[in-house]
Subunit: 248 residues, 2 copies
């Protein structure tokens, strides 16, 4: 009998930010294929006889290519296993879920998405601040600093305007290029930027700075991946809030 | 002794999409102030002696003004109670959390944000599809069709371009205006639109249509609030996918 696959969001860091549905899928799993950034406590929710397979990706180390992950989860399900593919955050946000959904469906395997709390929501909690602030920001843009190899870098300036809170995933290395692109496009250098690394874990660190000082403040504050950067551009920005009062 | 306040995300609909942390806060609560759209099963997780207060807002009915909510949660915490303010989805996304954070802090009350799965993640699960699709969409825009009274309507065309998946909250009533604005701005009429109402509940309904036919398809498919609309504009859109092959 064919098994099944669940693409499960493990949430943003802390084990207790898992959903009840994710917990149930983990408890029912015969095998769990898990990414890096998964709290070891989450794997302990599984039955003792559940197989646990680490698919990478440690920073700087080799990780499984996506094709290999697709092949092994499909093979395990075809062998009758209840497969959990455990991803940090929400599997639908920069989670390569499409490839795994397509692979399962091509083999007639039942596949389910189990949503999770995405990293931006957790980083906002770490800052004690809402993502959107009524009257100030009316849309949230979630973008990544790391595109598909061969794709051009993001068009940073097109992502932000008055009313935007921009949450950037995997953007630590792109901070300098982003600053240059935004300043060249006329985005105020005094724009407020906050960065949180390893949100909701004991290793959490956060900084508050301006666009002008972003890369340096990240270095001083030891903000490294996994991190979320927030850029906030209020709708009714007053000159004192947004525009420098003196030339820089 | 002063109590505390937790602004807790109840998740997008189904009770099992609550996080473990949210469950723990609900179990520890002395009083729960809850919004509409909260699954009654979630309130049953509370202790029998926990007070439950409904703050609205039923569609079309009177609900508590935000100031009243702020006043009562602060008063309950000052009276020594562990207060849970239960909101659907993630409290940081269009959740009026800022007002409640500010009110608590102005009174020196400890206040915590407990993140939740936001409605867009759940609606994507209902569609069996990821929010972002590598190589197709590289940023997710979460916006609302309902602005602060007195504010101008959203600048729809500024929210979407090739590479965007746009998730719209509370936008059912704005669908006609949005279509007109987007078509006038040159957004392809064949753009794919999906809408999901009451995602992850037994009453869930979904449609797939194009921008050209959106309001009519929503009517036929009985898509009403609470609903999420997704507009997807792939990066490398081929003419056959996006541009009409014949004049309409």
């Amino acid at each position: 009998m064919t098994g099944s696959i669940a693409l499960v969001g493990a949430g943003p860091g802390a084990a207790d930010l898992l959903t009840l549905r994710a917990l149930n899928r983990i408890k029912a799993a015969d095998v769990i294929y898990y990414d890096r950034l998964i709290d070891p406590q989450i794997l302990e929710f599984a039955r003792p006889d559940t197989e646990r397979v680490f698919t990478g990706k440690h920073v700087g180390a080799h990780s499984w290519p996506q094709e290999r992950i697709c092949t092994v989860i499909v093979a395990a399900a075809l062998a009758g296993k209840r497969v959990v593919r455990l991803k940090s955050g929400d599997p639908g946000v920069f989670g390569r879920a499409t490839e795994e959904l397509d692979a399962a469906r091509a083999h007639g395997i039942e596949i389910e998405l189990v949503p999770g709390v995405t990293a931006a929501s957790a980083a906002a909690v770490s800052l004690g601040r809402a993502l959107t602030e009524r009257g100030q920001t009316d849309h949230l843009v979630i973008a990544t600093g790391t595109c598909k190899p061969g794709d051009p870098p993001p068009d940073w300036a097109a992502l932000i305007r008055p009313g935007t809170v921009l949450a950037l995933y995997m953007a630590v290395r792109a901070a300098r290029d982003m600053r240059a692109a935004l300043l060249a496009a006329g985005v105020p250098s005094s724009l407020e930027v906050q960065a949180v690394s390893e949100a909701t874990t004991p290793r959490e660190r956060a900084i508050t700075t301006t666009l002008a000082h972003l890369p340096e403040a990240m270095e001083t504050g030891r903000i490294s991946n996994p991190a979320i950067l927030f850029l906030r551009w209020p709708k009714q920005a007053q000159p004192a809030q947004i525009l420098p009062l003196v030339a820089e």
